[in-house]
């Protein structure tokens, strides 16, 4: 097919114009919204200065969608809202209605199709996640399967707004951390626990050695003479913390290890500026095993954090703000998670995280 010469090629046109697919009520009231209110879990009403109203029904998706399901979404948009819909920054779908009488029929049809309505306000919305074993070479775990397993367990917190504040969960299948793992209330991160296996034969053919050496955050890779006088590298194993970045730049640094790969759990990150400043997630559990297809240890840990947080936190407190108030020792006590040597930072500015005061609770 590529043998056909390229007829008039169209390039550099960018995306469709930013206002091309806006429904008329949005076009009319663009930039002139007065306030919004929640009508029910997953249903918002925006009121414009003009008095016009826009109703939004939000529903969960698995992010990985077939064209069959996308066409079904298009049919629903035609049936209930003149053919307009949007996706959110957490990969939910939103139907945009002008006619309030269509809200309940749309919700009923979504639920009949197995599409949960919710994910707003003080709920657990969709889990931002990555490719996993579906499409990535570097994944230490699967993303879609983890998300499905965790959301099945937390579905009631998606369809109801029963938490002290919003609670955001993210999954990344390796510590490239594509997505939002480093800044989420609860984050699940795929990890390796063994150094790469250097495949010298491949290395000479496929890798640029200086780039490979520069890829290591801890300087654990150094050049050595390889087989037959060809250049290779060795890994100083005591210095390697299995980040896998050498594999990202060089296929000869094989990281995948079925028995030792797994998950770590992080808590307390946020991006919004409300009340407290944006902040990173912190390590809660250094390692849980990869147990597809349901990852029961991971699901149990996440449910535990949600349950303890729900019981203990005050209104408006995000997970990180709650832990700020009660302190980390109490977090470990309440969750029953073990505090280990792995929780103590030993990267460059580690001392910033040491407790440098006599503020101790008893």
């Amino acid at each position: 097919m590529t043998t056909t010469p390229l007829q008039p090629r169209i390039t550099d046109i960018g995306p469709p114009a930013y206002d091309k697919y806006l429904p008329p009520v949005i076009r009319k009231n663009y930039g002139a919204w007065k306030y919004h209110e929640k009508l029910a879990p997953g249903v918002l009403c925006h009121v414009a200065e003009s008095g016009d109203r826009l109703y939004t029904v939000r529903a969960g998706t698995p992010r990985l969608l077939s064209i069959q399901t996308l066409r079904r979404f298009a049919d629903l948009a035609d049936k209930y809202c003149d053919g307009y819909l949007r996706f959110t920054s957490r990969n939910n779908i939103e139907f945009l209605l002008e006619d309030a009488t269509q809200i309940e029929p749309l919700k009923r049809e979504l639920v009949t199709l197995g599409i949960p309505v919710g994910g707003m306000n003080n709920a657990i919305s969709n889990i931002v996640h990555t490719q996993g074993w579906v499409h990535c070479h570097a994944a230490a775990t699967d993303a879609s399967g983890l998300v499905k397993s965790v959301m099945d367990a937390l579905i009631d917190h998606f369809t109801q707004e029963d938490l002290p504040a919003k609670l955001r969960i993210a999954v990344a299948c390796c510590l490239n951390m594509c997505g939002a793992v480093h800044c989420s209330d609860i984050a699940i991160l795929g990890v390796h626990r063994r150094p790469p296996k250097v495949q010298s034969e491949m290395l000479k053919k496929a890798c640029e050695v200086p780039t490979l050496i520069a890829s290591c955050p801890t300087g654990a890779i150094r050049p050595v003479p390889g087989v037959g006088g060809k250049q290779s590298v060795e890994v100083i194993e005591e210095q390697c913390m299995y980040c896998g970045n050498c594999f990202s730049v060089c296929p000869a640094m094989r990281m995948a290890d079925a028995e030792n790969d797994g998950l770590s759990i992080w808590v307390g990150g946020k991006v919004s500026n409300a009340r407290t400043a944006p902040r990173f997630s912190r390590l809660a559990i250094p390692y849980l095993p990869n147990h597809p297809p349901r990852w029961p240890e991971v699901v149990d840990a996440v449910v535990k954090i949600v349950d303890v947080y729900r019981g203990e936190a005050r209104k408006y407190e995000r997970v990180g703000e709650w832990i700020d108030r009660i302190g980390w020792p109490r977090f470990f006590e309440l969750t029953g998670f073990e505090f280990t040597r792995y929780h103590i930072d030993d990267f460059k500015h580690a001392g910033m995280n040491f407790a440098r005061s006599a503020h101790v609770r008893h």
Binding site: G60, Q68, L70, G132, V147, A214, S248, R275
Partner: protein, 405 residues
């Protein structure tokens, strides 16, 4: 989505998938059901399921490392992928991803969505991600010979590829003025205008590493710009929060504990509720959004709107994760596009000159120092840039005026 029973007619995948079948149970929509649905029109979806089942048995990925494919004229936009078990699953031996630049804030008409589906039915697996974390529509899985025809059909339908590689990546934005009363600038228009201004830099990688731009129209930061973009544009305002005292009283009457839940959570400690009147000392307000979030009918951002410009966010690799930090505390909404274009050009010139291979702009700033970076791009230091001044005395003094030749 209720197509789970289609599994029996699965094309292309002869093997059983007992582990993945478990993931069709339960209330959350199932990605396994999606893959089975796609197999109605695509043989590669069946083989994808087969290979994924093997990964679930083996607990490792079965994709080979890397893969360099693309379309003529562009240096990015396609993520090449090859199976390492292509003999067992020939229909995913090639399984490349096309990144398609999404419409701003992910608004679609049903017609646009169907157009994409029809193109992808002709040229790919029928599987998508709506959307990738950077914002692109992800068309998941096709063969090398379909890339160019798919691209040609997409551009004829008005869609272009997004970014990948050491390039400007696809900018994204929150819903902004389309459906939010808190929008302090037109995030969708700014996102679109920047995307159009940098088409060359998006499509033809020319940088030391990737560069991402995200626009959130208020400090709630609904696209996580502060965590996920090298250049983060976050809306704010300069004047006073607008208060409707009658609506405040309504919230109180409805049972809200305004003193405890609103004033008590104010980081600037600048609010007071005496039971009748809410007062805000706006000079001490840090524009965190908490009180406005809590009482959207009563409180609104001020009228003098604009944005904070922040720089440098990235994930951990290589030198640790970074959040973006303040570069310009306020740019008026109407001056944003021109200011950003000028600023971005200066940042790129500096990065191009001093950035090392695979060094994000945030890491370059860490390495040379924020002060040197400011010199490099011609910005004066202001106290809003730091959470506190340094606490060590290792200061690089510049020559006093009289020492200069």
């Amino acid at each position: 989505m209720a197509d789970g029973d289609d599994g029996k007619s699965l094309k292309g995948c002869e093997r059983e998938t007992p582990l993945l079948d478990e993931l069709e149970k339960g209330p959350w929509p199932s990605f396994v059901t999606e893959i089975k649905s796609a197999s109605a029109t695509s043989e590669s979806a069946g083989d994808l399921l087969g290979q994924l089942e093997l990964s679930y048995e083996d607990k490792v990925s079965h994709w080979k490392h890397g893969g360099l494919v693309g379309v003529l004229g562009y240096g990015g936009g396609v993520i090449g992928r090859y199976s390492d078990v292509g003999d067992k699953f020939p229909k995913v031996a090639h399984f490349h991803t096309l990144r398609v630049n999404q419409p701003a804030a992910w608004f679609y008409s049903s017609e646009a969505l169907r157009t994409i589906c029809d193109i992808w039915e002709r040229h790919g697996s029928g599987l998508t991600n709506m959307h990738g974390s950077t914002g692109d529509m992800i068309l998941l899985g096709t063969t090398t010979d379909h890339l160019e025809p798919a691209f040609q059909e997409l551009t004829r339908a008005g869609f272009d590829l997004g970014g990948s590689g050491s390039a400007v990546r696809t900018p994204s934005c929150c819903v902004g003025m389309a459906r939010c009363e808190w929008a302090c600038f037109d995030a969708m228009k700014l996102c679109y205008d920047l995307t159009m201004a940098y088409q060359d830099e998006i499509h033809r990688p020319a940088f030391p590493y990737k560069f991402k731009i995200k626009c959130s129209a208020c400090p709630n930061d609904c696209v996580a710009a502060i965590a996920r973009a090298d250049l983060s544009v976050i809306g704010t305002w300069k004047d006073e929060i607008r208060i409707d005292q009658a609506e405040v009283a309504n919230y109180a009457a409805a049972g809200m504990d305004i003193q405890r839940d609103v004033c008590g959570n104010c980081p600037g400690k600048c609010m007071d509720w005496d039971g009748k009147q809410l007062s805000i000392n706006n000079r001490d307000c840090v524009r965190c959004m908490h009180c406005i979030n809590a009482m959207p009918k009563a409180l609104r951002p001020g009228n003098e709107k604009g944005a904070v410009i922040l720089v440098g966010a990235k994930a951990p690799i290589l030198q640790g994760a970074l959040l973006s930090s303040v570069l310009i505390p306020f740019v008026a909404a109407e001056e944003l596009l021109e200011t950003l274009k000028e600023l971005i050009q200066r940042i790129w010139d500096f990065w191009d000159e001093y950035g090392t291979n695979r060094e994000r702009i945030g890491e370059l700033i860490q390495r040379v120092g924020l002060a040197a970076f400011l010199d490099g791009i011609g910005l004066d230091p202001v106290p809003e840039m730091v959470s506190a001044p340094r606490d060590n005395p290792y200061i690089y003094y510049q020559p006093a005026k009289e020492d200069e030749a």
